[in-house]
Every structure is written in structure tokens, then in C-alpha cells.
Amino acid sequence: MSGPWVVALGDPAAAEVELVGGKGAGLHRLVALGARVPAGFVVTTAAFAAAVGAPEEIEAPLRALPEDAPVAAVEEAAAQARAALAQAIRTAADVPVLDAVRTAYRELATPATAREADGRTLRGGAGAMGEVEDVPVAVRSSAAAEDAADASYAGEHDSYLDVVGPDAVADAVVDCWASLYTARAVAYRRGRPAGAMAVVVQRMVAARAAGVFMTLNPANGDRATFVCEAVWGLGEPLVSGAVTPDRFVVNKISGEVVRREIAHKPTRLGRAGTEPVPDAERDLPCLTDDELAELLRIGRAVETAAGAPQDGEFAVDDDGVHLLQARPETVWSQRPRTVARGRTALEAVLATLTGGERDAD
């Protein structure tokens, strides 16, 4: 893949999945919709190609694996692939790609830069730098095959939170590249080629609360239902299933919160790691109704623009709700969902009265 090594999330080039990966393109889509997305840039697949070289060589040990290879063998082959990848980068010594990453980080960390992605700023390697702050960023893998409508790849590649400083960011980018070849990622791909890996670098949101949402009910596929789960602090413990979140079920059309399950939340993940939640807040809902309404509005806008149900992650700080990612929902979207029994009202009435078979689902 040829193209720029670094593109801002709002850059039109960031619409190309092959260049910026699934997550990157998804974020670009959100920016283009006007959603509040933390400012950031994508280290593209072109950068990956320039730094890593031909993936065929790296993947050779994996391709040699038989289909029913034991786990240990997969582990070993994956380790070999990672070593080959690191080797490839080492041979390229003063990697210009990583310099571009450092430069882009510096620009992102300049106080003059907008905190939200807006499509105008943050072109990699752009002009003179001002003073650079210690701005923490999230560095996330964005494989080209990730977040396609038929496979979510949720959590199969690495992400690094709270990375501070140009060199640390460059290192994290390399680590993300290498995570193409962790054993679990290899297992998940089941023989499909790894493809190229883009990496998203975004300002961290100082999250008071964070969580995930779905623009349909995952339990029954109801598309008029919006479901959101959230915890105090950063969302990672929720995404990884380590804690029980608050759960909100909202009717999309009335906006009514039809169900609220407030969990006991003794701890949260903050910048310094896991910390206790003040006693008084442990059993409180971590989202206000206004925040839920804002999240619903954003979620519906994304769904409408994409023309398909979405799931996504968000964080809330003093500025409001920030979208961290959104991607097509992959379970119910695959199922046939016609319900009409008959082509006319009369046929539908007859089907109701005769207990006629519903269309398959």
C-alpha cells in the first residue's frame, strides 16, 4: 500500500480502510459525522509497509503450520513472526516512519492543537512545533481486516493507554505492529493472511466514566433499542469483562430509559491504575440522563450514516461524551430479519389467524 505514512483522523485519506485500517476508518467516519472524537492521527499501512517490508517473509513460519497445529506450535510460530518483524524494523535502523510518528505526536501534543479531531489539523509532519506538553495518548492497533462487518476482531490486537512522549509512542506503534502475530490473533485469523497493520494514536480522554454501546438489543436483535454499559473511569476493565458495569436500556424512538441496572462499582481504572471509587459513588449510576441522551443521539447518527447497526466505545469527561470507536454490529446484522407474513395486510391477517409460519430467522 502506498500513500502517506501519517494521516489525521479528519483527513479524507483516512476514509480508506486499506490505508488506515478498520478502526482508523471508523473513527474518520465519526469525525466526518461531526461526532466528538478525541484528536489523533493514524500511522498508516503504508507506514507499516515502509517500516516492516514484505509481510510474506514474516508470515512464512505461520503459513507452514498445519490447520490443526497444537497451541504450542502456534505460539512458537507467532513468536518467530514477531521476531522477524522486529528484525525487519531493526535492519531499517533510523526508521523515517517512526520519525514521522514522533513528529505527529509532537504536533498533537502542542497546546495550540484542537483537542477534538476536526479534519483540518494534525497532518503528519506539518509545520513548526510550539511547546510540547506531556499529553497522554492511546495507541491502538487498526488492522485492515479488523472491524469488517463480518468479523469484529474485538480485542485481538494490542492497545496501549496513557502513552506519553514521542519515543514511547513510537515504541507503542511498533508493539502494535507486532501484535499482528500474537498467538491469539493468529488463532482468530485461522489461516487468513495478517494483512497490514495501521495504528491509531489519539489523545486520552480523562474519563470520568466510559463504556460501550450497541444500537440494537444484543439479546434479541431489537433495532429500536439502544443498550449501553458503563463504568467509572476508563472503559478497559469493562471491555475486557473484568467488572460488572451499569447497564442502561434506552428506547431509541422515545428516548426513554426503559431499564437501568446499576452495578456496585468498588473500583475504577484511572490514569494511575486501578483505584477505589469513593463510597458514596459506588452504587450511583455512572452516566446522567443527559449523557445517555447525548450518547443515544450520537449512536443513532452513526447508525443512520452507516446504514447498519453499530457497536462502539465512548468516554465521558467534563466536555461531554466522546466517541472512541464505532463499528458495524456483527451478530444480528447477519441474520435475516423480515417479519411480515404475507405481501398484503389481508395476507398478514390470514397468517396471524392461521398461525402461519414466520419467515425464517
Partner: protein, 606 residues
């Protein structure tokens, strides 16, 4: 799956003092040895929705009207594919019913006929309904024009000079027949449109539920309803009278009885203007029956017009709300806009292929829903109110002529016996001789009066016979609120020690409060703010009470029952179709009502 069975109707004992109750009802309405084999195999449930109380012999006619008409339209006229009629039996003065399924093998053939026949009606619905209203209103006017006066010593001169050619006695016989026949005919019309209407509504309902498993019944009815239907008119008139009272500066007092208040108000111009307005409004808009549950089922419940303290309390409540700055009007335009917005958004969320059928079904559902709501005013309120009122007029005339002792004794006679009594009375009058009259009826009426009281003390079994494996007949579920699980709950009611009553969640929410049992409109005055209203069912004419109570628990009704609809409107929890809340819960007992789960939990013992 229920494994036990309810008692056989043939094993139900006669309550003490009610021996001979069978003579109060027509023989064909009773369980009898000739069809024991059939009837013992059937699942019967107490129809507390339409007939929550003991039937007077004369009031049996109400059951007969729908027994035959519903049956004929389902079974013989429209060929409703899965369902024949609903069979009835009277046991210890209570009505038990059982839906009769169409033979499974006939369903396909019936569906083909139904498609043609109901299809004809669906296509011409609005025109047919317009004609329908005309014929009902014409018949209503006819009934109201009937006069049942004591027969005159000498016929008026007009009988001679206008060549009437009949006697007042004959006309009494004729007019009673006409009264009864008219009610029967009106019931044909009632079912002419009702069940095919329900079928269309249920179809839309089912489509929404399949596409959107989370959708609430309330949302579906909001997509369909919200029209300016005449059923809301009585309540709208109350609001208008409240505003008029405010405009005219008329003080309606706090609890002066209506008659006294009206006399007082007439003493000045503003008050007189308001009372005149009330009287004009009263007919027809306050001709609404106050039965708890299905209106018009019994002669004993007055209309608003007959019991003006009830609507007056509602007007006072509206005045109070106006005074505190509340808006009391139904925001019809907003409701309509919201209805279209909701429907539009759900439509957009449907699979594209489903949208045309969704549109068509919604349009049909909206069309039929107007009838489903409005027919209640035409038939259950206006026609039945007229029927009961004329029947009472006749009863008073018979008493005045010495055929009966008391003004309402006629209601202890079956309708065939009433025809006999009229003939006996008329022939005595005609011949100038003496009828057997009160001497003949007195012991019969006295016995039945005693039996009636004994039957009232009997707590009917919620159901009889073997429960079905599954209750899935759509009308039973929707109208009576009886489901597989409620039947199961009835069966195990005894095992739970009565700590939890289960019904259908009619309106969501959870509240706790003290029980207030109300079975007659006259008891509404005792309701305190925050009470949990426990009743056989509610009625639109009970409107004043809903702004005071915390929740409603009813014995009968499904998700589309009046109780459920109104409570959803008021945003208060309702559990409907509990079967036996009225007999189980005691006044003052604290309960928790969970309108989502459909449970009523007893919190303490009184």
C-alpha cells in the same frame, strides 16, 4: 405446564341458601347431564370481564346477546379461521365461558373464505362503518321513543280518532318484544365489525412484536390510536364544563350533592347558565354506564346522567387542576404528530422488504381501531343504557298495575317470564277481570331475592375443568388477559399461601400502598390519595379516581383493557387479570404492585 385440573362444574356445590338457583336462568344456559361428557372435557373460565357479578334473571339477556352474535359472526358469517364462538354456561349465578376452536383441519378452508369475506369489509370499512352508525343511532332513537306506562283505564281518544287499531295492552306486548329483539339485533351489528377489526389490530400488534421484541403494548397502541374518537367525548365534556365553571365564576363546592348544588346554582344567572349547559351535555354524553369492567352488563349500575355526583366529582377535580395551573386538555394534535413520528421511526427500522406490508397493516389497524374504541359508546353505553332504562320503566309499570310488588321486581324474572307476566297483566286489564299477577310471582320473586343474596356471597372458582396445555387463542389472550401462565397461577394459587398475586403487567412501574377495594361506582368516594385501587375492572366512567390512586389491580382484563390503557396514560402501574384480587386482598392491607412483572405482593397482614 399445568398438571392439575380445576374442579368439574358438576362437582361445584350450591351455596347454602341458594338451592334452586337453576330456576333463575334459562335451561339451555346451564350445565346439564345431557352434555356432561362434552362439558367436563372443556376448560371454562369465569368471565369476570363482562359479568363480574351474580346475574339477575332478566340480565341473562346480556349474555345471550353476545353468546349467539359473537358465535354466528365467527363461526358462520366470516369463518374466522381458528375460532368458532365462545360457549357459555351459568353456574351459581356466574357466567363461565369457553372458546370453541375451529377444527384444525378446517382452518385452511376457513381462511380462504375469511379472506374473501373479511376482505370485503376491510376494503369498504369506512363506508360500512358510516352506515353502521346510522342504523345504530336510528335504532337507539326507536328504543328511546318506546313508552312503558301503566295501562290506562280508558284508551286515549287518539286510539279511536286516529284509527290506531290496537290496544295499549297489545302495544305493551309488542313493544317489549321490540325492545328485546332490538337489543339482539344491535348485538348482531356489534359483532358485524368487532372481531374482524380485532383480527386486523392483532395482526399489526404481532408484526410489531416480531420485528421489535422490546416494543411495549403502549407504543403499539400509540401508533394506532390517538385519533379523536367519540369514546373520549364524555371526558372532554367534563373538562369543558370545568372550564365553563371557571369562566362563569361558578363555585361547584366541595361535596354538595349534585341535585342540591344544581338547585342552588339556578338561583343566579351564571349558575343557571352552567346548569343548563350541564343538562344539554348530559344527553347523550353522560349516558355512560358505570359498571366496573365491561359497561352495560347489568341493570344495577347507573349512568353518569342517573348518578350525576360521579361526573360532578370529575368536573370538580378538573377545576382544581385548572386552578393550580395545570393543562387538562388532551393534546390531540401533539398526540397525532407523535403517533406519526413513532410509526415513521419504527418503519425506518424495519427491514425494507417489510415496510410496504407494515404500512398497509398499520393503515388497516388504524381504520378498525376507531370502531374498536367507538363501538363501546354506541352499544355498551348508549344502547344498553337505553335498554336498561326502558326495562326499568316497564318494571315500574308492571308494579304499578299490581302485576309485581316492587318497582324493580321484574329483574328477578327471566325474559320469557317477563313476556308471560306482561300477557297475564294485559289480559286481566283487557278483560276487566283479575290477573294472577303478584300473587303468582310473589313467592317466585321472594325466593329468588334470597337466592340472589346467597349467590353473591359465593366466591366463584376462576376456572373449571382441565386446563389447556397452552392458551394461545389470540382473542382470549388479548381481551380476557388469560394466558397459559395465569391459568397456571390459578392452579397453584393455594400453594403459595397467597403472598403473591399474579396477573398481566398492564402498565409498568412499582409502587406500594394500601388496598382499596371498589366494586361499584358508588364506592369511589372512599378512595384516598395513594391507595391501590383493587377492582373487578375499571370503567371510563371512573375517570375521577385515576388522578388520586397510586396503582390499579384488576381481576379481569388484558393489555388492551381499559384499566391497562388508562394506567399507561397516567403513568401508574397496573396489574390486570389477576383473577381474584377483589376476593383475596383486604382493605387497608399494604401491597407492592409491580406493573412490569405483573405481580402484587402482600407486604403485611391486616
Amino acid at each position: 405446564m399445568p398438571t392439575d385440573r380445576f374442579p368439574s362444574p358438576f362437582d361445584i356445590a350450591t351455596p347454602e341458601g341458594a338451592e334452586g338457583w337453576e330456576s333463575m336462568y334459562d335451561w339451555y344456559h346451564l350445565f346439564g347431564p345431557e352434555r356432561r361428557e362434552l362439558d367436563e372435557q372443556r376448560f371454562w373460565f369465569a368471565d369476570r370481564l363482562h359479568h363480574p357479578d351474580v346475574l339477575h334473571p332478566y340480565d341473562e339477556i346480556q349474555c345471550e346477546c353476545w353468546w349467539q352474535a359473537l358465535g354466528a359472526f365467527n363461526t358462520r358469517i366470516f369463518a374466522m379461521p381458528p375460532a368458532y364462538g365462545v360457549d357459555q354456561r351459568i353456574l351459581n349465578g356466574r357466567l363461565y365461558v369457553t372458546p370453541v376452536p375451529a377444527p384444525q383441519g378446517d382452518v385452511a378452508a376457513r381462511a380462504e373464505e375469511f379472506g374473501k369475506r373479511a376482505g370485503h369489509y376491510y376494503e369498504r370499512w369506512d363506508a360500512i362503518y358510516a352506515e353502521w352508525k346510522e342504523k345504530v343511532l336510528a335504532r337507539l332513537a326507536e328504543l328511546r321513543a318506546l313508552r312503558f306506562d301503566p295501562l290506562p283505564d280508558l284508551e286515549p281518544e287518539s286510539t279511536v280518532y286516529e284509527h290506531v287499531g290496537t290496544s295499549a295492552g297489545f302495544r305493551m306486548i309488542r313493544d317489549f318484544n321490540h325492545l328485546v329483539t332490538s337489543m339482539y339485533e344491535t348485538y348482531q351489528w356489534h359483532f358485524e365489525l368487532l372481531n374482524i377489526g380485532y383480527a386486523a389490530y392483532l395482526t399489526f400488534f404481532g408484526m410489531c412484536k416480531s420485528a421489535f421484541p422490546d416494543i411495549t403494548d403502549q407504543t403499539i397502541s400509540r401508533m394506532v390510536g390517538g385519533l379523536d374518537v367519540e369514546l373520549y367525548r364524555p371526558d372532554d365534556e367534563l373538562k369543558r364544563l370545568a372550564k365553563e365553571a371557571q369562566r362563569l365564576g361558578v363555585d361547584l363546592g366541595a361535596d354538595t350533592p349534585a341535585a342540591e348544588l344544581f338547585t342552588k346554582l339556578r338561583q343566579d344567572d351564571a349558575g343557571a347558565e352552567w346548569v343548563a349547559d350541564w343538562e344539554r351535555t348530559s344527553d347523550p354524553w353522560f349516558v355512560v354506564n358505570t359498571d366496573p369492567g365491561h359497561p352495560g352488563g347489568y341493570h344495577v349500575h347507573p349512568t353518569w346522567a342517573e348518578a350525576p355526583d360521579v361526573p360532578l366529582a370529575a368536573v370538580r377535580e378538573y377545576v382544581r387542576r385548572l386552578d393550580s395551573g395545570e393543562a387538562i386538555d388532551r393534546p390531540t394534535d401533539d398526540v397525532l404528530r407523535e403517533r406519526d413520528r413513532i410509526a415513521g421511526e419504527y418503519r425506518e427500522l424495519m427491514a425494507e422488504a417489510d415496510r410496504p406490508v407494515f404500512d398497509e397493516t398499520l393503515e388497516l389497524a388504524r381504520k378498525v381501531f376507531v370502531y374498536i374504541e367507538e363501538h363501546v359508546l354506541y352499544i355498551e353505553h348508549w344502547m344498553w343504557a337505553a335498554f336498561w332504562s326502558k326495562s326499568k320503566e316497564l318494571s315500574r309499570a308492571l308494579a304499578a298495575m299490581g302485576e309485581l310488588d316492587e318497582p324493580e321486581d321484574m329483574f328477578f324474572l327471566r325474559r320469557y317470564e317477563v313476556a308471560e307476566a306482561i300477557y297475564d297483566c294485559v289480559v286481566g286489564w283487557s278483560v276487566g277481570s283479575r290477573s294472577r299477577g303478584a300473587d303468582y310471582w310473589r313467592p317466585i320473586v321472594e325466593t329468588r331475592r334470597r337466592i340472589y343474596d346467597a349467590l353473591k356471597a359465593w366466591e366463584p372458582e376462576p376456572a373449571l375443568g382441565p386446563p389447556p396445555a397452552e392458551v394461545n387463542e389470540p382473542f382470549t389472550v388479548m381481551l380476557w388477559g388469560i394466558t397459559t401462565s395465569t391459568v397456571g397461577e390459578w392452579l397453584k394459587a393455594d400453594d403459595e399461601g397467597g403472598k403473591v398475586l399474579r396477573g398481566t403487567g398492564g402498565a409498568p412501574g412499582v409502587v406500594e400502598g394500601p388496598v382499596r377495594v371498589v366494586t361499584h361506582v358508588g364506592e369511589l368516594g372512599s378512595v384516598e390519595p395513594g391507595d391501590v385501587l383493587v377492582c373487578p375492572a375499571t370503567s371510563p366512567s371512573w375517570a375521577p379516581v385515576f388522578s388520586r390512586i397510586a396503582a390499579t389491580v384488576s381481576d379481569v382484563g388484558g393489555i388492551m383493557s381499559h384499566t391497562a390503557i388508562v394506567c399507561r396514560e397516567y403513568g401508574m402501574p397496573a396489574v390486570v387479570g389477576t383473577g381474584n384480587a377483589v376476593s383475596t386482598l383486604r382493605p387497608g392491607q399494604r401491597v407492592r404492585v409491580d406493573g412490569g412483572a405483573g405481580t402484587v405482593t402482600l407486604l403485611d397482614e391486616v
